[in-house]
Amino acid sequence: MSGGVVRILVFSSLRELIGEAALSVPVSEAPTAGAALEWVAHRHPGVADYLPFVRTAVNRRYAARDTELSGGDEVALITPVSGG
């Protein structure tokens, strides 16, 4: 497991719930995209309700929750989108 920090980005309703747009987490505590999502859910009550609906992205591409993370990676927690 590599060292370093991953940056977690949240948007829209999730951003408002958490009160911040970005969080930094050691890779050791968020070794996969799914673990990053759970890390956030563990610390912010209410996020758990979103878990079934959130898609994860790593470095600006949709990525499965078991995608492994490295220091410097950017993970985004993407609630159902509503553009257009």
Partner: protein, 148 residues
């Protein structure tokens, strides 16, 4: 925010806070090889189920939204007969009657142009990381939970 965009010979994707100019996407796709240009403009609707909207407020994961729109455009461009694609999307507040998204596609014939344009807006609504919030006339505001 300065506009975030990617432009190549056959594809122009742009995310911007300023009002959209539909003529820009159409002018980009016009091409001597094309027999048809299909376009779509999404606008802010005042009434939804008896509730009055005054503004839609859009938020985007800017860099990924552009990357995803490029990916969708490139898939459209791989289809037989599709010539050029342009997609512009707005962020921030979009008032009633104003455009939030403009799409234009040129093709050899109308069939492929219409089809690609329809697929682009449908997939944009499912896949591109952009979110909108309804600002209602009664002062309430709600994130739109799912795309149509």
């Amino acid at each position: 925010m300065t506009p975030v965009e990617q432009r190549t010979g056959r594809c122009w994707i742009r995310l911007q806070r300023e009002p959209l100019q539909p003529a820009e996407v159409i002018a980009f796709v016009v091409d001597e090889a094309a027999g048809a240009v299909a376009s779509f403009i999404g606008t802010t609707r005042r009434w939804t189920g008896g509730r009055e909207t005054v503004t839609l407020s859009y938020e985007a994961y800017d860099e990924m939204a552009v990357a995803e729109m490029v990916r969708l455009a490139e898939e459209a461009l791989r289809q037989e007969g599709v010539g050029r694609v342009a997609i512009h999307h707005r962020t921030g507040d979009v008032g009633v009657g104003e455009a939030s998204v403009t799409i234009a596609v040129s093709g050899g014939h109308r069939g492929e142009a219409f089809l690609a344009c329809r697929e682009l807006i449908d997939r944009l609504k499912q896949e591109v990381p952009i979110w909108k919030r309804e600002i209602y006339a009664d002062g309430t505001r709600e994130w739109v939970r799912s795309s149509e």
